[in-house]
Symmetry: C2
Subunit: 207 residues, 2 copies
Amino acid sequence: MSETAASPPARDGDQRCRIVATAERLYREVGYLKTTVADIARELRMSPANIYRFFGAKAEITAAVTRQLMSEVETALEQIALSHGSAGERLRRMILANESMNAERYICDRKLHDMVEACFAENQPIIDQHIDRIDALLEQVIREGVAAGDFAPCDPHLAARLVHVATIRYCHPRLMLECADRPTPTSAQMMEFCLAALKAGAATERD
Amino acid sequence: MSETAASPPARDGDQRCRIVATAERLYREVGYLKTTVADIARELRMSPANIYRFFGAKAEITAAVTRQLMSEVETALEQIALSHGSAGERLRRMILANESMNAERYICDRKLHDMVEACFAENQPIIDQHIDRIDALLEQVIREGVAAGDFAPCDPHLAARLVHVATIRYCHPRLMLECADRPTPTSAQMMEFCLAALKAGAATERD
C-alpha cells in the first residue's frame, strides 16, 4: 500500500506513539497495576502480538510512558530556560514548574504514582537521564546569571546540582507525597534561599 | 521479693529496654522481616506473653527500636548544638553527624533499612517527631548565629526548616540509598551553600 492510499497504514513510529499514549491513558483511568498488554491492544484494536513487535514486555511500555511524562517536564523547563527574564527569575519559574508538573502527574493522580514507583524500581537509567537533563538546564541558566553579574562566580555545574538537590523535596514523587503534610518551607522560599547562596557565591569548592 | 533480694526482678522499665535492645540486635543479625516476637522472647528467656505485657504487637516493638535509633541521633546532634564553636561550624558538624549516623544505621546495615521502610509506612508520628526535634536543634544554633552576627537577621524557625529540607538527601534513608551513585554534591558542599544563604539573609519571608 502506498503513502497516498485512502487509509495509509500507521508507520511504526506512529504506532509506537499510539501504544504509549493509550497505555498512559489506561494507567490513569484504570490504574497501572490493573492494565495488561491485552487491554492496551484491545483499546487500539490491534493484536497483542503487534504490541510485542515494539515492546518486549509491559515494563518496556511503562518505561516509555514514564520517559514521555518526564520529557514533557524537560521541554517545559527548557522553554523557561530559553525565555526572557533574569537568571534568578528563570530559575524560580523552572523549579516551580518542575514542582507543579510533577504534582499534577504523580501526586494528584495516584494511579500514575503507582506506575512511577514501579518504574523507579526498575529503570534507574531513565531517572538518571531525567536528573541530568534538568541539571544541564539549570547549569545553563546559572552560567548566564554569572555572566550577567547576577550571581557570584561559581562552578555552574556544581551550583546546578546544589539547587536541584536542595529542591528535591519539591520534585521527587515519593518525597512530595511523604511531605504533603509539611507545606513549609515552600518551594518559593527554598528558591529564595538558593538564590541568596548563588548571589553570595557558595558553589565554588570542588571538595 | 524485695529490692534487696539476691536476684531482684528486672523492673518493668528495664524489661522494656531489654526487649527493645534484643529486638534491635535480632533485626540487625537475622533481619527485620525474619524476626518474630517468639524469637525475641526466646533470646530473653521469657514467654511471648511477657513481651505482650509491654508491646501489643511486633509493630510496636519496631516503633520503639526506631524511636531508640532516632533518639541516639538527636542526642548526638544536641551535644554538638551545645558545644563550643561558631554557629556555622556547629551546623556543619550537625549535618555531617546526621548523615554519618543515618548511613551507619540504615544504609550500611541493609537489614535495618528494611525495618525503617516498614516503620516509615506505619509510624509517621515517630518520623514527624524526629524531624521536629532536629529542626528545633538547628533553629537554636541559627538563632545564636544571628545573635552573634554570623548570620543575617532571619526567621530562625524557617531557616532551620530550609537547612533541613535542603539536606534531606543526606539524612532520609531511602533517598540516601537512591542517591548512592551520585556522590556529589557532598553534604559538606551543600552546607557551604546553606551557610552562604544564611549569611546573606534569605530566610526572612513568610511567603
